[in-house]
């Protein structure tokens, strides 16, 4: 008997077909876009809403490979560097602090009593709602933007780490103590290394929200950055540039996620098992 190649519970899709099916939705959307763009351009050759492929290519060339006429800089790279710096600083700080706090809260009931309700409270505040407060109190500098990313993902990461540490069987702690570990040794040499890949996974999941907070902050007050540029050129209806930036952000997001996934796979084989 053979497994069906597509339909039903018992189906086993072959590798080639998997690739084909996986690419199909992308092909659909590209074709759909091309047709729509073509129709609009037939009606009005100056249409800006759905730029043609050649217009997008020229936008890419303009923002990525030629100097800006006004500033003499390559806009896409400048914006990417500014945004990535904010994103990475915010995410790394949030991850480090969340790891330490979540781990210690889960291990030490005394600390937990002190922090738990406060962290729960913080995590309920919609970060975007306090963005004005951040800009008013910290100015429109880097700090406010980084802080928004930080405050947006830090509580979620902390609670994720907290829950993961709580899931580690109590037996492991006792076992480590019987092997001569001190209390801090248990926390930092037995539990922390086990929770680290989980942190990387949690960071992967929170990267999406990190981008959201970054772009929101840049849209409101910035002088460079991917979000800033998108909202700036929106005024001129420069869909060719916006589309270029959106695709670029998506690519960066995918690469960050992929990198973290590969790190976990390579360095934590026992976690992926």
């Amino acid at each position: 008997m053979k497994r069906p190649s597509f339909f039903g519970l018992h189906a086993e899709v072959s590798k080639g077909l998997k690739w084909f099916l996986g690419l199909l939705p992308f092909a659909f959307i590209v074709v759909f876009y091309l047709i729509a763009s073509d129709i609009r351009h037939k009606e009005n050759e100056y249409d800006k809403l759905l730029p043609t492929p050649s217009q997008i290519v020229s936008a890419v060339d303009r923002v990525a490979f030629s100097e800006d006429k006004r500033t003499g800089e390559y806009l896409l790279w400048k914006d990417s560097a500014a945004s990535l710096k904010r994103l990475i600083i915010g995410v790394v700080l949030a991850a480090i602090l969340a790891l330490l706090l979540g781990l210690n809260m889960a291990m030490f009931d005394g600390l937990n009593s002190f922090f738990y309700s406060f962290i729960t409270f913080i995590s309920m505040i919609p970060p975007l709602a306090i963005l004005p407060i951040l800009f008013i109190s910290f100015g429109v500098d880097e700090f406010a933007k980084i802080f928004l990313i930080f405050i947006g993902i830090f509580p979620v990461l902390t609670r994720d780490i907290y829950i993961s540490v709580k899931k580690i069987p109590k037996e492991q702690i006792i076992k480590a103590l019987t092997l001569g570990a001190s209390q801090l040794t248990v926390v930092y040499r037995i539990i922390l290394p086990q929770i680290f890949p989980r942190l990387l996974d949690a960071v992967r999941l929170s990267l999406g929200s990190a981008w959201l907070f970054l772009i929101a902050a840049e849209a409101i007050a910035a002088s460079e950055g991917l979000g800033y540029r998108i909202f700036l050129v929106r005024r001129y209806l420069a869909m060719d540039v916006i589309l270029t930036y959106v695709l670029w952000i998506t690519l960066i997001g995918f690469l960050l996620d992929f990198t973290l996934r590969m790190i976990v796979k390579k360095f934590y084989p026992w976690y992926v098992k």
Binding site: K175, G180, Q194
Partner: protein
């Protein structure tokens, strides 16, 4: 004179529910003491109290004359599961007994020495060739052997084992029982072995304790808040025996006797009539338990 492991008037209760009810126990050094009882009688609770994972409600426990506190390196433990740390290789797991006590530089300096010693124990539990695998790559029996090596390296005063072979298939289980007896014969350490399997307890132990909630005392039948007591205490043949021993008439008779006295809710012995024949056995009863004394 207190014996090596000494427990006196030990009670454990959760809220109003009494689990362990006036436990008295005295175990000498080098004994391989097995504890059986019906499920839910509190066997594991007693082990966890000795281990320092849980605290007793009342009563004293001492090992080697010292009151036991929270879990520490004088007691070793092998659990049914979770004894090995998943993020370390088998070798690193076994080395932990040394490396956990060392600082960052010390443990790097001594690495070779520790590895050699850990390998010695791994060879002893026949896992030499698997030293560099992760625990999840080993079978259940191999994981438990590694856990035993891990505990042995620390040379604990007493090795506690909580259903160590409970998750293994019958053949592997029998292998492990023989293996443990061989290890013990080579190096007679004090072992406290909890199991729900009476035949295993009889086969492995040099002394068998039966813990049960099915008994009677002078509080009368209506007393519902009674916890488990040690209702049987037997001296066993401590030598390594072949597994044929389990088929012998003598073995089967003993199994039957213990099953009816300890595991049968219908057959409640009075506290006065417990079979506490072991020379080290002792029992101090309260007046409400036995008014005839």
């Amino acid at each position: 004179m207190k014996n090596f492991l000494h427990i006196e008037d030990l009670y454990k209760q959760y809220g109003n529910k009494v689990i362990l009810d006036n436990i008295d126990l005295s175990v000498k050094k080098g004994e391989i003491c097995t504890l059986v009882g019906p499920s839910g009688c509190g066997k594991s609770t007693l082990l966890r109290i000795i281990l320092g994972q849980e605290l007793q409600s009342r009563g004293d426990i001492s090992i080697d004359g010292k009151d036991v506190g929270f879990a520490s390196s004088d007691r070793g433990i092998v659990y049914q599961r979770y004894s090995l740390f998943p993020h370390l290789s088998v070798l690193e797991n076994v080395m932990l007994g040394h490396t956990l006590e060392d600082g960052f530089f010390e443990r790097r300096k001594n690495r070779k020495k520790y590895e050699k010693e850990a390998m010695f124990y791994l060879e002893k539990v026949r896992l030499g060739e698997h030293a560099h695998k992760y625990p999840h790559e080993l079978s259940g029996g191999m994981q438990q052997r590694a856990a035993i090596a891990q505990a042995l390296l620390k040379k604990p005063k007493i090795l506690l084992m909580d259903e160590p072979f409970g998750a293994l298939d019958p053949d592997t289980r029998e292998d492990m029982q023989l293996f443990l007896l061989e290890l013990w014969e080579e190096n007679p350490m004090t072992i406290f072995f909890v199991t729900h399997d009476l035949e295993e307890a009889l086969f492995v132990g040099s002394r068998l304790l039966v813990l049960s909630q099915y008994y009677m005392d002078d509080r009368g039948k209506q007393a519902k808040d009674r916890g488990a007591k040690i209702v049987g205490d037997y001296l066993l043949d401590a030598n390594v025996k072949s597994t044929d021993f389990k088929q012998s008439q003598e073995f089967k008779k003993l199994v039957k006797k213990i099953r009816s006295s300890g595991f049968d809710p219908e057959n409640e012995q009075h506290v006065r009539d417990f079979n506490l024949n072991h020379p080290d056995s002792y029992q101090t009863l309260e007046d409400y338990e036995d008014s005839s004394q």
